[in-house]
Amino acid sequence: MLGVELASLVERASTEISAASDLETLAEVERTFVGKKGELVALKKTLGGLEPEERKAAGQALNEAMGQVAGQVNERRSVLAASAEAAQLAGERLDLTEVMSDMQRGHAHLVTQARDRLEDVFVGMGFTVAEGPEVESAWYNFEALNIPEWHPARGSFDTIFVELGEPEQVMLRSHTSPVQIRTMETEKPPIYIVAPGRTFRTDTADATHLPAFNQIEGLVVDRGVGLGDLAGTIESFVGAFFGHEVKTRLRPSYFPFTEPSAEFDISTPDGGWLELGGCGVVHPNVLANCGIDPEEFQGFAFGFGIDRLAVMRYQLDDIRELVNNDVRFLRQF
């Protein structure tokens, strides 16, 4: 009796499960047959009236039937769920070329980009980054650097003076070398620093000049360092910054604060040389001016323009764009 009823119930459930076309209908079918008040569960209650032997067999059969139905429901559910999700996704279709704007991001100034990269390379070479004031005294800008008041080189700096103190005693720094002096005055060797920053000259702004521009200088003071270490340091830096195929060379030159002095060139792809900056072995008078014994320590220094690197990299035809702050320029980089 129970067996017949079970078979018919399972068959009916199976039919309805297959016929359920959405998840809700399927849930209803599930409730109808195997829910708490479902028909199969209701049959369980009739088991109490059976003989123990019979009850065991009937119980087993009922459980099998319930398992069968539940299995079919689950199977059907995953089919329906998959097609429901597919339908939902199909309805969510977007045309991603309809997006109208990007998330606004800021643009670091070209000089900052170049400066950060230079700092990173030198930090990697064991240097720290030193900074100092942009308005300086004649001591830091000239005298401590072995450029006395009468020295012909003073004129070549085209200094912008400010109206503080005695005439020509306070000025906008014409190079970042004063930072070298300030560092040597306060720190004991070994010293490995680079000093990036803004510098000033009485250059009228045009396509290739600005009265305010940026330089970076390096200074090493240690035992026994000389021109060979300078040449090696420059080559190492240039390789890291410009690529290892770029070569360097030193040519004798003159700066009051270094002796021997040199200009340094980097090789260009066409086989020529491009002058990048000045360098040299720190003049012993400069060390002595900072309280460092030139007999115990030697030093070397080098410097070059940062703005020019940006100009070279992007082939800018007008350096004034660096201070015009036109967003049509700034947002290109």
């Binding site: 800021g106 670091a108 900052t112 950060d116 700092e119 930090v123 070479m125 064991g126 720290t128 980054v129 004031p133 942009e134 308005v135 300086e136 008041e149 009468w150 012909p152 912008i160 109206e163 005439p167 020509e168 906008l172 070994p190 803004r198 009485t202 250059d203 009228t204 600005l210 009265p211 305010a212 090493v220 240690d222 000389g226 021109l227 060979g228 270490d229 300078l230 040449a231 340091t233 080559e235 060379r249 030193l250 040519r251 004798p252 003159y254 009051p256 002796e259 021997p260 002095s261 072995v281 003049h283 012993p284 008078n285 002595a288 030697q298 201070v323 015009n324 702050n325 036109d326 967003v327």
Partner: protein, 796 residues
């Protein structure tokens, strides 16, 4: 300094070979070749012509009609834009069909309706010197027989190589052809020698015609003079004119040209006096008296100071500004016959100071400032001058007046081989060093590790003021000749790790966050116009003034980043650019603190958001506060922040100290700067902010227990800051409060007049338990009571 290869070869015939390679050798010596030109080539078709007639162009003011004879005796018409010719002048003339050295082709042209059959040439156009002003006029009338001949023949030009060298301030010797030849010969290993000069002398000895007294021997190291008679001022020979022109000097007359020629050749500036204008031929060399005056050759009256040097006559009148410029009263003129030729050595700092003070730079003073030669070179230059002037018919009297002053003394003369190798990074032996030095004229001898070196009189720069400097000077000479390019490159390794300072890292973090928020970084120049600071409500007098600004609009140093940013915004608005949000990290310059010489310089951060209201700037501030973990950031509303919107601005107070301003720029300021719309503005003293307490973060374990949220809205009087209410809530809720946000601000219907509704969301949570309903209720009541008591806030 320019030099011709042929001229160098007069001192060192062995200097020969590929001009480019010779140029590279010069550069490697520290005499950088800025330009190399092959001269006397590519001038085919350019002939000597004579100006026959000059007449105005009927339809043009800036060109004239010139009739020239280009060799056939017939007038040929050309149009010319220069007006320096007179009838009879001999000029270089490019005939029709000529291709000029610069590639220009000369054809028959019509200029404003008038035919032009060729081109009159300037010196520059035919590769002779820098003089592009006007047509080159040949002064040698003897060339008249050469009309129609190639200009190279007429001028005696030969193919030559012209090097334009960058000579550094430490190379007085290289300001001469002979000095460059000496350096190059040393590098090439070829002989260098001064040609012998022979001069016939007649008449009375110079010492019987003139006397010299050096009163200040520190000013003048050596004063020599010779007497020349029967001097006639005329044209100098063409070859001298050509060389002067090539080296960039304009030929003037025989005396001046020879003077310049000798200066260029030997690096020895010289001066000629009309001896008949010097009473009894007596000269005194002394410092000027303060306020003393004299008229220099340029007819300007100069007022002197006691540091200037002068040459005076026997009555004490200054007749020459020593080493800088001669005096008008003793000038050599067409009527001069007797000349006193002076060659001296002047103290470089003295000359430098006078040149700078009077702004009188010259070829002569440039050489004296760098330190001319006080030795035999003077005698050689004397001989050369006399030889050349004798060829113009002058007579040279025997004898040379030669009065010594104080020449530079070489106080240090030993260097250590090991130290030089250490400075250069080389391993040279003493013999090699002696050899390099010898080639450059530094005599030296080795004894163990020590060299004894004597500096030649043409290298004043190398003497040095102390032993260490001397060693470095000598190291440079050895290194130069050894060759910088062959020094082994090594990389020293410091003991410490490279790193950015905490300040520098933090500054980068600030920049990165601002970039992420869509702010573009700008770098305006720090110069302002007078009045710019006043326009933003600051004291204009606080702005440090520049003494020599390029322009009045760039004559004041900024004390705030605001003016520069407003100018940048206005610039972008005027170009119809998209809306801008800018930030800048830069220095500002406050007046010096009491007792300081330098301004109180600070690094500021400024952020301007165009088109935004004040809260946008506060949001930036809050984000920065979070990035840097700034403790206790408050915005306070004081009266009248300079340049700021009176009711939409606040002072930023961090850990109890004022560090900047936040809010909106005052509409009146925006109008002054031509900025449209609102501008949200935040300026912080970045140096102080990052120098102060920040970055301290304490880890709190994330609670594993549920949290409970509650929203409380209060009606709060308008003059009570939301931050005050926030503080009250924070204190009252105590440790259970893990989050507190202001989620709504409402003004309007349903809120009492003079009040607004502030809605806060509180999240309560404990680390060790689930909060009980009682605890939550108690906290809620405590918060409500506290806001009521402290902020007069009613729960809504």
């Amino acid at each position: 300094m320019k030099v011709l290869l042929s001229w160098l070869q007069e001192f060192a015939p062995g200097i020969d070979g590929d001009p480019v390679e010779l140029g590279e050798k010069l550069s490697a010596l520290g005499l950088a070749v800025e330009e190399m030109t092959i001269t006397g080539q590519g001038l085919d078709g350019i002939v000597l012509a004579k100006v026959l007639e000059l007449s105005p162009h009927p339809d043009a003011d800036k060109i004239q009609i010139v009739q020239v004879d280009s060799g056939d005796g017939q007038p040929l018409q050309v149009c010319c834009g220069a007006f320096n010719m007179t009838v009879g002048d001999l000029i270089p003339f490019a005939t029709v069909g000529t291709t000029m050295p610069n590639g220009m082709e000369i054809g028959v042209r019509k200029m404003r309706g008038q035919e032009s059959n060729g081109m009159c040439c300037s010196a520059t156009e035919i590769g002779l010197g820098d003089d592009a002003d006007g047509i080159m006029l040949l002064t040698d009338k003897a060339a008249e027989s050469l009309i129609g001949q190639p200009i190279t023949t007429a001028l005696g030009m030969e193919t030559d190589v012209l090097y334009d060298l960058e000579v550094n301030a430490n190379r007085p010797d290289a300001m001469s052809v002979a000095g460059v030849a000496r350096d190059l010969a040393a590098a090439l290993g070829v002989p260098f020698a001064f040609p012998e000069r022979t001069v016939e002398r007649t008449g009375d000895d110079a010492s019987s015609q003139a006397t010299v007294e050096i009163i200040d021997p520190d000013l003048c190291g050596r004063f020599t003079a010779r007497v020349l008679q029967n001097v006639t001022v005329g044209e100098s020979p063409m070859w001298i004119q050509n060389r002067l022109t090539a080296l960039g000097m304009r030929p003037i007359n025989s005396v001046v040209d020879i003077s310049n020629y000798v200066m260029l050749e030997y690096g020895q500036p010289n001066h000629v006096f009309d001896l008949d204008t010097v009473p009894n031929g007596h000269l005194q060399v002394r410092r000027a008296a303060d306020g003393e005056t004299m008229v220099t050759l340029d007819e300007a009256e100069r007022t002197l100071i006691s540091r200037d040097g002068v040459i005076a006559n026997e009555s004490g009148d200054a007749i020459s500004l020593a080493g800088v410029m001669g005096g008008l009263s003793t000038e050599v003129t067409d009527s001069t016959t007797n000349v006193l030729l002076e060659m001296a050595w002047w103290d470089p700092p003295s000359i430098s100071r006078t040149v700078k003070r009077l702004n009188l730079p010259s070829e002569a003073s440039t050489r004296f400032r760098r330190g001319a030669d006080w030795g035999d070179n003077i005698d050689r230059a004397m001989d050369r001058f006399c030889e050349l002037i004798a060829e113009t018919g002058a007579t040279i009297c025997p004898g040379q007046i030669d009065v010594p002053g104080n020449t530079p003394a070489q106080e240090h003369n030993t260097v250590r081989v090991a130290k030089i190798n250490s400075v250069l990074g080389t391993e040279l032996d003493a013999a090699t060093m002696v050899s390099h030095l010898g080639a450059l004229g530094f005599e030296s001898s080795a004894s163990g590790d020590t060299l004894t070196v004597s500096v030649p009189s043409y290298r004043w720069d190398s003497i040095g003021s102390n032993a260490a400097e001397f060693e470095h000077n000598i190291a440079e000479e050895i290194g130069r000749l050894h060759g910088y390019e062959v020094i082994t490159k090594t990389v020293p390794k410091g003991e410490q790790a490279g790193h950015l300072s905490e300040y520098q890292s933090d500054r980068r973090a600030v920049r990165a966050v601002l970039l992420g928020m869509g702010c573009d970084e700008i770098q305006p120049m720090p110069f302002l116009a007078p009045g710019d600071l006043a326009l933003v409500g600051l004291d204009d007098d606080d702005g440090v003034r520049l003494s020599n600004p390029l322009d009045a609009s760039e004559s004041v140093l900024r004390t705030s980043l605001l003016p520069g940013q407003l100018k940048s915004i206005a610039y972008n608005q005027s170009h119809r650019n998209p809306p801008v949000r800018f930030f800048e990290i830069g220095h500002v310059f406050m007046p010096p603190k009491e007792g300081d010489l330098l301004p109180d310089e600070r690094e500021f951060l400024g952020i301007a958001i165009a088109g935004a209201e004040a809260p946008a700037a506060v949001e930036v501030l809050n984000t920065l506060a979070s990035v840097l973990a700034l403790p206790n950031v408050q915005v306070r509303n004081p009266d009248n922040l300079p340049g700021m919107h009176p009711t939409r601005s606040a002072e930023v107070v961090i850990a109890g100290r004022p560090r900047g301003v936040v809010g909106e720029v005052a509409p009146s300021v925006l109008r002054e700067y031509g900025v449209e719309g609102r501008v949200a503005w935040l300026q912080l003293d970045l140096g102080e902010v990052l120098g102060g307490p920040h970055g301290k973060r304490n880890y709190t374990p994330v609670s594993k227990f549920p949290s409970s949220d509650m929203d409380l809205a209060f009606s709060i009087p308008n003059d009570t800051g939301a931050d005050k209410v926030r503080n009250t809530i924070s204190k009252a809720a105590g440790k259970l409060l893990v989050d507190l946000d202001l989620v709504d601000v409402y003004r309007g219907e349903g809120v009492e007049d003079g009040h607004r509704s502030l809605a806060f969301r509180l999240r309560l949570q404990a680390n060790d338990r689930t909060l009980s309903d009682d605890e939550i209720t108690t906290t809620r009541e405590a918060v409500i009571a506290a806001v009521q008591k402290t902020n007069k806030g009613q729960l809504r």
